[in-house]
Symmetry: C2
Subunit: 255 residues, 2 copies
DNA sequence: GCCCCGGCAGTGGTCCGACCACTAGAATAC
DNA sequence: GTATTCTAGTGGTCGGACCACTGCCGGGGC
């Protein structure tokens, strides 16, 4: 359990937690420079850094070399980077991730149908159009695909579920980023997204959930097939080739 | 995120990640002492500690003062300790957490009905019996309540969903641990748990989901009522609405 | 013989003070 | 005006000393 001991790291965490809970620290705010802050807290800079590192690892703080340390901005992230590690450690299976995603996104779609605002419908519509326009460009298509789902999550009005979804999909893409989809699948995929959009727009929660479920089931079997063809891994724990892993733009901004 | 940069912390993380993925490191295993490990990795002990702290914050490592550092054992945890912080930061509402829990656990119950094994049924039955036996002891009752739900999560066969549920409920309890339930509610609660058990045992997924949903809806309204009565109304709801945008220099205060 | 307790060795925790690396903006050169 | 360079401020790394905790082992008391 969380010990509130003398542990310096917890002292820092609790201090900042307190500043957040009392409203003295808001997303985007900057905390004092390490040397100064450490002096004020009467602890060494090293200990302060330990605590900050802890908070940064949890996505609460955002440390920028040469600039400063800030309270994290933007949509919350829950253990986004940890899931793939935990997956490798506990041997999570691909189907389990897909199942989790299917459940989350289906309900998210239903909620979006119930609570979505006009602005969300507009955004969804635009992304669907972009998807149709890029069926021949898998890279571009993927961007709009991701955005589409992200808008739904936002429209659901539940940031916790949205964050959980983000965590899962992030881990999922982390594992599949090599298998590019074929464009004949993309056409079909776009159609399904359009159906989802229509169901949400007409506030048909049941339909939205059903179509979303169908869409994700197809995506899962499609990827399973690709994985089977390319030979290797069906598991989450496989050889991460030493490829330099340049990060794409799949996860940059919320729409 | 996964930049393979010179960043010492990432070098450590990737090194350990690699050891995990190649199977050279299993849950419960111990990593070398810091001084020795640092020498082997050709980095300073401080940097090594930064990386280990990062992994520990994500629940991948378990550091025990005076003993050693180990790969985390037991069921995976996803950002368990971070959710309450993120909640305070982004103003998560109680109803949002309950909604997330409701969705997750309903599906978990349905899955448990489909995939549960005899051992799970037995465990569930035992917990139900214990709940009936402790309706006059809220503290004891809560233990079996938690265990009951945990067994269901286990029976679902999806550790990811189980971990997500654990994260949510953990944050939820963190916020409510003061409002003790009244025994007349407990009797009713035990009845519902028994119904859930029966539905799962008879492999009636639909019924299991429905009853679980009903149970959690009741729990939610019960807690909302208690919170309203005692006025202590948890969480950042207040600061979220009433925070008067005091922009400007940040972090200059001594809390 | 058995048990308690103190010491000891090993390990993580904290501290210091110096220096490196990066960023943004100011000062300068063109 | 624009491009370049310089500089102050900030986080990142280092190593080396010392503190604090844990587990164990051996000696002393029973």
């Amino acid at each position: 359990m969380s010990k509130n001991d003398t542990h310096m790291t917890m002292r820092v965490v609790n201090h900042i937690r307190n500043m957040i809970e009392t409203g003295g620290l808001q997303p985007g705010d900057r905390i004092p420079p390490e040397r100064e802050f450490a002096r004020k807290l009467r602890i060494s800079r090293a200990s302060l850094r330990t605590g900050i590192g802890y908070l940064a690892a949890m996505g609460v703080m955002d440390v920028r070399h040469g600039v400063g340390t800030f309270v994290a901005e933007g949509p919350p992230e829950i253990g986004k980077s940890s899931l793939s590690l935990l997956g490798a450690l506990h041997g999570f299976q691909s189907w389990q991730m897909f199942e989790a995603r299917r459940i989350l996104e289906s309900e998210l779609a239903a909620l979006a149908a119930e609570r979505g605002k006009e602005q969300h419908f507009t955004a969804l519509s635009e992304e669907v159009a972009e998807m149709y326009a890029t069926v021949d460009n898998p890279i571009e298509y993927l961007i709009h695909d991701v955005r589409f789902h992200r808008v739904i999550a936002q429209a659901s009005g539940n940031p916790i579920l949205a964050a959980l979804m983000e965590t899962i999909t992030s881990a999922l893409y982390d594992e599949r980023r090599k298998t590019a989809e074929r464009s004949r699948d993309l056409r079909q995929s776009a159609d399904l997204h359009r159906e989802i959009y229509k169901a949400i727009r007409s506030r048909n929660a049941h339909e939205a959930r059903a179509v979303m479920e169908r869409h994700l089931a197809m995506a899962q079997s499609a990827q399973a097939q690709e994985a089977a063809e390319s030979g290797t891994n069906g598991h989450a724990a496989a050889s991460h080739a030493a490829a330099p892993a340049k990060r794409g733009k799949a996860g940059e901004k919320s729409v």
